[in-house]
Amino acid sequence: MSDTIRAELFKLRKRPTAWVLLATAVVLSQIFGYLIPYLSYRTGDAQTVGGNVPRGDVLASTLPDQLVINSIGGFPVFAGALALVLGALMFGGEYGWGTVKTLLTQRPGRISVLSGQLVALGAALFVGVAVLFALSAASSLGIALAENQAADWPTVTDLAAGFGAGWLVLAMWASLGAVLGVTLRSVALPIGLGVVWVLGIENLVSAMAGSVLTALRPLRDVLPGVNAGSLVGAVMPDRVIDPPPGVTSSVAEPRALLTLLCYLVVCAAVAAWTSHRRDVV
């Protein structure tokens, strides 16, 4: 399997789409985590920004002690959608390019190929999360220096919890993209369905469960996005301003963690079963 992992990492490194997705995540993270808040702080002349947020809090939200929330605050929604796209591209792409037949007939066993691809995907997400943390750290340090603010970093425990939660959220979304790619044997349909789910259905069900139809709450509490948002919300307790969209406290941390792990295992198992049992066409 090590040959497969090495080969998959090589392929990911060479694919423009992987870099485009990472660049998109970085740009969105920097814009919404640092650029917009900092510009609001610098250009605003009132004591509050947006009508009710004190300017001091806006600046404080960009400082190093807020590194975790600024790094993974967007993971439940936009970075999750990007991870889902990566999973669908990586696994569904094999059918689109027609390479699955070569992979599964001449090379290691089907489960070995799939396992190698999943491990490589997990490793790529690890690198992606590390890049987002590193760039967020650089931006927050830059702002702290520019504004003569203290550079108080989160504790190692908080950083590790945030990093782990962020990776798990992205891995869960990517594995959903992967299983859709394998079962639907394509790229476009899994991406379309997945993005509609992440950005539309989840928000709709959450909103209805929270207002007009509370009977939907049990359903809401097992949704992947809600659990991702709950886990992210749980690992960033000291927030200066309101959390980003998608970050919630609907589900308790242990249950959210367990639910995300279940999604990860079930997706891998379904992908493995489908890949192992089905004819290669």
Binding site: R6, P16, V113, D279
Partner: protein, 251 residues
Amino acid sequence: MVNNSPGPAAVAAQDLRVHRGGRAVLDGLSFEVPRGLVMGLLGPSGCGKTTLMRAIVGVQVVSGGRVEVLGLPAGSAPLRSRVGYVTQAPSVYGDLTVTENLRYFAAILGAADADVRRVVDQVGLSSQADSVAGALSGGERARVSLAGALLGTPELLVLDEPTVGLDPVLRRDLWQLFGRLASQGVTLLISSHVMDEAERCQRLLLMRDGRALADDTPQALLERTQTHDVESAFLALVDERARTTTEEVPS
């Protein structure tokens, strides 16, 4: 049946049957592919050539009979590094270069980087080694697929219409490559619906409607049917089969 070398045949099928959509795609096919030669698999489109190749490489569910490859059941794990398969549609990543595609497959196979250069040269793509596969012509992409199958040391190459869309010079060069590989002991099973390619094979399996019409050398086929080319021989065999069927069913 013939067998040119000691040991089991490269491919041995016995009463092979495949049904799809309620239709018999392969209907009791029995044949052997001796080792170390170029075997042509010829027949019109839809006669079951690709299905037969899929059964040989172990990705086709069969309804009955058996297929053995290099003495092992088709699709067995030990065969994966010993059998190269080139599908009819090119099997390459369009967003990677030729070299990157082959380095990826070489890494999965555990083959050395030097092997990548060898196969790129063998299929005549040295000048396009750094081109993105998606920008190549269909014939060039097909050659990238072929190069992938040549990585490592395959003992059996199963090639599904590898020369479709190639110009005459490239076709000639590839057939020369196939001949060289066979002379080195590699067995090649090559499908085509172009009958004039049959003359380049050392042995032929002619198929129609999922059945074998003939399994012989090109020369023996021509002598048996008293024709001058394989296409005429194929038509003569089709007529012969039709007559036999008519005689077997009284009016």
